[in-house]
Symmetry: C2
């Protein structure tokens, strides 16, 4: 019986590339594994897959009765709906420890680094398994994406060294330039339905019993949102009501200016204001904020505690 | 500010030796750390500490505002009472994933092996730090204890190889004989108050909202309990009521016969019977059962789910 290796709902590049890379490693060490996904690849992820010649992993919603290796999260809200009927055999992640629990011992490779693929590289090193050229390519791109080409405060020395090593294996001479190419793909929002944009990189968090959804769009110039900002704001309100969420937030991140505009739809804007110590009229510029995980989730967690 | 490295409540040898070993490693890699404990060392642990010339770690109950590295568990019920006011920077463990959560990224070294010290050895190897002779000795003893000298079904090849490597460093020619010496110390129950025996290796579990306490006493001959069994059983009932527990179980494990007598005090004995598929009159012999973690907790978890 194979292990299914799966990232979080609304998968980002780390979830998709990590599932492929980890499933390959598992197969190499004699544990049959299949990479799967819980949603469609984003345009950025599709660009990475195309660039290195991969098909997207198999779409698979249900995991009841299966063995599952979780990639890039440890939160029930981000896991398969029936994860409690599956056996979690492992977790590789780089976020805060969430509310997934198991009834049997498992392995957890969790590190406070910028990307799950950096941890997966450590796993390859631990097992002494060589990383194929094309897998090194997608792992490298996932790290460049998660660390915003090393600009994010989540980026560590381990991530930078890992990209250098993977670039060497993949034969990529200028990883940063490939990163910029990726972010240019990511910045092409024109013609995409507003809801698709909001949901492109969206995660739900259980904050002390309150459901808080946080999306993020990283672009090289925020002006791409000028004409659709009102529509985005209206859609956040809808999304909040549809999902019975306490709040829905959308980070519009300018990776060149290195900051984010935060759009807010909330039952209690004051709580959000308190988290960032700013008065906000349903939107606010947060200078230097690039990371949802490190700069947005923890202060929110604190005010909800 | 130092990191406090602490094992679970009612610490066993893995918790105490692991805290010492991991604190040493952290200091070696430039992260000031102090080993602490949440309770008194058992006679077995004291034997190990004396044998290799260690003082018990500092007793410390409160961790609010501190950075903490958790050893040998990931359960709220086994952690410091105020752990939610501390920052968990890491977890090293070999059990099922419990209900500890964090609000910031952390490192988790969790592996499905027989002992946390086997994982700590992997950490030493990862960082390329040499293990001092006396620390190798206590780590080795912790593994021999947790794996019941390799007899437990939780024991893996990694644990055996780890003991071999540590014995070499510690200069111990016959680790199994040292293990037997340890278990003879553990078997000396005469003169110890009954409550102290029940609590010697006792863990509370939250099973779907029900508090279930499970103690274990591992000896080389169950006859040492003959004269006090009735007292033990009476004390389990008291303990259940005092702690508002659903059930209190005590495993009397015969490491030579390789099985356990399970003493049961429960609001619903039928649930416990169902877990082990045996009819029990408040006690039952479980042939081949040596491991609370692998053979007792999972079937209980299942019937409570």
């Amino acid at each position: 019986m194979p292990i299914y290796v799966v990232g979080h709902k609304i998968p980002d590049s780390d979830s998709i590339c990590g599932a492929i890379a980890l499933a390959h490693l598992k197969n190499e060490i004699g544990e049959p594994a299949i990479a799967t996904r819980l949603g469609d690849p984003s345009p950025e992820t599709q660009f990475i897959l195309d660039k290195f010649g991969f098909e997207a992993p198999e779409y698979k919603e249900s995991y009841a009765g299966e063995e599952v290796y979780i990639v890039d999260h440890s939160e029930l809200t981000q896991a398969p709906d029936d994860i409690e009927q599956a056996t979690i055999v492992g977790i590789v992640d780089h976020h805060k420890l969430g509310d997934l629990t198991t009834s049997t011992p498992l392995e957890c490779w969790i590190r406070p680094v910028g990307c799950s693929n950096t941890v997966i590289k450590m796993m390859y090193d631990f097992y002494g398994v060589e990383i194929p050229k094309n897998i090194a390519g997608i792992m490298m791109c996932a790290i460049l994406s998660d660390t915003v080409i090393f600009k994010s405060p989540t980026c560590t020395t381990a991530d930078i060294k890992c990209v250098e090593a993977l670039a060497e294996i993949a034969g990529i001479s200028d990883p940063k330039e490939l990163g910029m190419e990726m972010f240019r793909v990511k910045s092409a929002v024109e013609g995409t339905p507003v809801r698709d944009l909001v949901m492109r990189d969206f995660k739900d968090f259980n904050m002390n019993g309150n459901l808080v959804g946080i999306g993020q769009l990283e672009v090289i110039d925020l002006s791409v949102f000028d004409e659709i900002k009102a529509e985005l704001e209206a859609d956040l309100i809808k999304l909040k009501e549809e999902g019975k969420r306490h709040s829905v937030l959308l980070l519009l991140t300018d990776i060149m200016k290195e900051g984010s505009e935060l759009l807010i739809a909330s039952d209690d804007v004051a709580v959000i204001e308190k988290a960032f110590d700013k008065s906000a009229d349903n939107k606010v510029w947060l200078d230097g904020v690039l990371s949802r995980k490190k700069q947005v989730v923890p202060p929110l967690q604190e005010v909800f505690a």
